[in-house]
């Protein structure tokens, strides 16, 4: 049975804000988690999960009235390395960038090693070096050197 074509935009366009497109399918809720959404001051947020695209399925998040900062975008890159960030001003895309994968992240992910010193009550934040590994990302703990490459979204702080 042939599927009927699906219209590209399922949610109405936004006036000002950010559209995060090409999020790895299944990671939209983790993206919201990174952006601390919902909170009382967040504007209207629309989420599309498992949207078909030319490269298979993807998630999309649209946030009205908010432009993301560099640190937020860095964090998103860990769970959605193919994401694009579209800044919308007055219904127009005023900037489109791919997420940039940082070399190091700190205070973003919790080390998976229960015996790691960063998981005790020491006055330090977790710190990882980031290694892009083909389509995946590997994080290496700067303390115990244990790596995380699967389900990074499950270890967000």
């Amino acid at each position: 049975m042939e599927e009927t074509p699906i219209p590209e935009i399922r949610v109405h366009p936004i006036r000002n804000g950010t559209v995060i497109d090409h999020i790895t399918a299944g990671q939209a809720l983790n993206v919201l988690n990174i952006l601390n959404i919902p909170n009382p001051s967040s504007g209207v947020v629309s989420i599309i999960i498992n949207a078909p695209s030319v490269h298979g399925i993807k998630d999309v998040v649209k946030i009205e009235g908010r432009e993301l900062n560099v640190e937020e975008v860095d964090r998103i890159s860990l769970i959605a390395p193919k994401a694009t960030i579209n800044i919308i001003r007055n219904f127009e895309v005023s900037g489109k960038t791919h997420v940039h994968i940082p070399e190091k992240v700190s205070g973003v992910v919790k080390c998976i090693n229960p015996n790691c010193i960063s998981n005790s009550n020491e006055p330090v934040t977790s710190r990882f070096t980031v290694k892009p590994d083909g389509r995946k990302i590997t994080l290496r703990c700067s303390y115990c050197e244990r790596t995380i490459s699967e389900d990074i979204g499950n270890h967000l702080l």
Partner: protein
């Protein structure tokens, strides 16, 4: 090349030139280590020795090294009796102890503890083992032993025993890869070297082969490095006995080896090496243990800036 104030956390931060310099320095200090001459090189300096878990040999080896160079040792007493038991963080303890000392030797049960300590200390931290993590001074003394008793260049070495959990053999492999060694890994299938380490070695163009037969491995190597197999790794005691016996080094087995083969072991041993091997020219594990002293003397003198 200056080592002054360098933290010694992991072998990965040492290049071959740096390692060679440390081994050369240890060789110069060896007469002092064996009490043939005296030294005041570290007179007036204090080494703080902080062992949050027991390791008597490593602790004594550091203390001997410091005393042989005329320095003083400040020991953290029993952990139970100290403020650590009251919940003080390692970061706080380090910030206090750095004020009392010129270097700190740290052994801790948590992985990454030495790295953390180095971030809070203005005096050099020497990692004496952090959980299942690094133990770089053990690797330096292993390399020193190989150089003194055999040769590092063009070395053919067999590593036998628990290659899965023993992070010190992992660091040793990494260091040997800087010297182009040929490595044979001998272990039961339960305790094989992790695949990522083998991949790492191969990417350094190191010849690596794996076998579970020590007889097969022993005939053409210069060094046989045995490691302890822990009973706890085997749920079935019968299985443990089978593995332990199949990897035991005996005089009969050594008849198949080159006459110049050296047997190493980071003591204490259980039954990996038959005591009848002790009297043969192959045994060098007790000297290996002694070599920890000149190696640690070299590291202390270098990081405290007493030697270049």
């Amino acid at each position: 090349m200056t080592f002054k104030d360098l933290h010694i956390i992991s072998m990965k931060s040492f290049s071959r030139d740096m390692i060679d310099h440390i081994l050369d320095t240890a060789e110069k200090l060896e007469p002092i280590a064996s009490s043939k001459s005296k030294s005041d090189l570290l007179k007036g300096k204090v080494l703080a020795v902080m062992f949050f878990e027991p390791s008597t040999r490593t602790r004594m080896s550091f203390e001997t090294a410091m005393m042989r160079l005329g320095g003083d040792v400040l020991s953290l007493g029993s952990v139970d009796a100290s403020s650590i038991a009251k919940g003080e963080t390692l970061a706080d303890t380090i910030r206090v102890v750095e004020g009392y000392s010129n270097a700190i030797v740290l052994r801790h049960n948590k992985e990454g503890a030495a790295q953390l300590a180095s971030e809070f200390s203005s005096v050099p931290i020497i990692n004496a083992g952090d959980g299942a993590g690094h133990h770089p001074t053990q690797t330096f003394l292993d390399l020193y032993t190989i150089r003194r008793e055999s040769h590092l260049d063009g070395l053919k070495i067999a590593l036998a025993g628990d290659l899965k959990y023993g992070r010190t053999v992992h660091s040793l492999c990494y260091a040997l890869s800087l010297y182009g060694a040929e490595i044979t890994l001998v272990s039961p299938k339960e305790l094989r070297m992790p695949a990522e380490i083998i991949d790492d070695l191969k990417s350094h163009n190191i010849k690596v082969r794996e076998t579970d037969s020590i007889e097969e491995a022993i005939s053409d190597v210069d060094v046989l490095y045995a490691t302890r197999i822990q009973k706890e790794r085997f749920p079935d005691p019968a299985e443990y006995r089978k593995v332990a016996n199949s990897l035991q080094i005996t005089p009969e087995l050594l008849e198949k080896a080159k006459p110049e083969l050296k047997v190493m072991h980071p003591l204490p041993r259980t039954n990996e090496i038959d005591p009848r091997v002790d009297g043969t020219g192959h045994a060098c594990y007790f000297r290996q243990s002694f070599y920890g002293v000149p190696v640690r003397m070299a590291l202390l003198a270098l990081v405290m800036g007493a030697l270049e």
